[in-house]
Symmetry: C2
Subunit: 323 residues, 2 copies
């Protein structure tokens, strides 16, 4: 039996210190929704446009120096890819990313421009995981999963420590009482749950891809249906969450909600107008849950805006619509 | 003869300390233009979506407490309006803003939502200044000019001190060697010139509204032509700069360039794609100057992104274009 390393709050605090040493905090914005002022953490403004830079940095810096020359391998639709590519470049390590052929161009181009090698694959069930594992084995490289990994979960959780510090700086002494976050495989959500042990946790997914919501309700992991509907949230199309992320969230009694595609577009427009930031569909689902009345805004609420990597034409089309 | 208070570097430092006590620093982003990494200061991410919050805060906090109940009056197409309204609300002062009828809806709505009274006027030569002066006299209120004022110039200059500190935090020990900034009346540009005594200064204006550029070349103040062409840069349509701002920039041998409307739209799209932020036309002119090759990017360059208040439909139209 393999002993799987479990993510811990101490690990999240360690990750937060490592991240703070290399990346300035992302802004915390305040805006009213339904008359209540809520805090928005703009991880879309990270250098790679997403929170994934945190987990990648915490994981790659934990690789023994003697192992670094063999590099890392990751599979990702794009944001984790960029995070790993960024961290590898900073550390002078080679990186290979297995990426679905239908990933947004902007994510593929950016991964390449960060110096990583990109290998294309179909978005089929388990295909990219297998290719990545094969490549890592062949090269002696470290495989860096996008969420099913204690280091990665701890790294993503650093955003919670950073936001907590910002609440203090703003004089919000009661701290974060409820965090609402986008959820794909659950790495970010689980990290936040560890970072903020006293906060309520709500995870938000696109309709049809709300397998974490269903899993938390059922008490065991349920997969997304094979016939799950199309969604603009490329970053949240995870068919199955992991035992690590599920366990952390389940122990914290996290709950989930699902939002519709039109609600997500409304949230993207709201963010452009009210926060003056560009948000990708998957990055806007937590905002969407509040705007659609599926989560009730309250004082001390932290809403995670997780990413801003969206193709220019797709984004222009969303802003030009009125739905 | 009235002695006009002159803005000073000590005043800028004082303003920077006052601003830092109430507002977190705006992000400093790095991105490559023509292969050179340049820093972008996103003042569009201030709570009111523009740097004007700085000058307003420095000016209003300098008003004697016994005078505060009589309030303030300002004239502005919108960003200064919001800055004054925000500062007045923080200090519990009444504020009246004289605003042209054709100001962007988003700026008008936001000024109202900050609790200010808005008085409409035509965008005619000198009209709003006269209305504002009359209102201030009638109420015993303090008139807060948008750029022709030592306090306001010093306040805007605080962005230079803040950026300099960020350069240090990023380990850029050579500091800011050249600052490129949008210019309307020149308050921001003059403030930056005082804040950064060793940096070269380039001011950027829309074509036809490049009266600061022409003034700096001529050695005396030249006005914009009566038949100046239409521009999307509502925040930079200043017919005549002031002696205070001109003198500071002239002494520092600042120079100017003008950018075309299509170049400004390209810069707005570039910022959405590369910095993931929403920028108004007037806020994008310095980026435009670099992208259009009118200013050569160099190491140690600071590019000011001054504002992000743009009507949703106008912004969607810019992103949907391809010019």
């Amino acid at each position: 039996m393999t002993i799987v390393r479990q993510p811990t709050r101490a690990g999240v605090r360690d990750a937060a210190a490592k991240v703070a040493a290399i990346l300035p905090p992302t802004p915390l914005f305040f805006a009213e929704i339904k008359g209540v002022e809520v805090a928005f953490k703009a991880e879309s403004l990270q250098p790679i446009g997403a929170f994934k830079i945190r987990g990648a940095w915490h994981r790659l810096t934990a690789i023994d120096e003697s192992q670094r020359s063999k590099g890392v391998v990751a599979f990702s639709s794009g944001n984790h890819a960029q995070g790993v590519a960024w961290a590898a470049r900073e550390l002078g390590m080679p990186a290979v990313i297995v990426m679905p052929e239908d990933a947004p161009r902007v994510k593929r181009d950016s991964t390449l421009s960060l110096g990583a090698e990109v290998v294309g694959c179909d978005r089929g069930k388990g295909v990219r995981e297998k290719i990545a594992a094969h490549l890592a084995h062949a090269r002696g490289a470290v495989l860096v999963p996008s969420f099913d990994d204690a280091w990665v979960i701890e790294g993503q959780g650093s955003v919670g420590i950073e936001a907590e510090d910002q609440f203090e700086e703003f004089g919000l002494d009661d701290g974060i009482v409820h965090v609402v976050t986008p959820c794909g495989g659950g790495g970010l959500a689980a990290g936040l749950a560890l970072a903020l042990p006293d906060a309520a946790i709500t995870v938000v997914e696109p309709e049809g891809w709300d397998d974490m919501r269903r899993s938390l309700e059922a008490g065991w992991i349920e997969e997304a249906a094979d016939e799950a509907p199309p969604t603009a949230c490329d970053s949240l199309q995870t068919r199955r969450v992991s035992q690590l992320t599920f366990d952390v969230l389940s122990r914290r009694s996290a709950t989930g909600v699902a939002v519709a595609e039109a609600e997500i577009r409304t949230a993207q427009r709201w963010a452009a107008h009210n926060l003056r930031i560009v948000v990708e569909p998957g990055g806007a689902v937590a905002i969407a849950a509040l705007l659609a009345g599926k989560v009730t805004p309250e004082e001390g609420m932290l809403v995670i805006v997780s990413g801003g990597n969206v193709d220019a034409d797709a984004y222009a089309a969303v802003l030009g619509r009125d739905d």
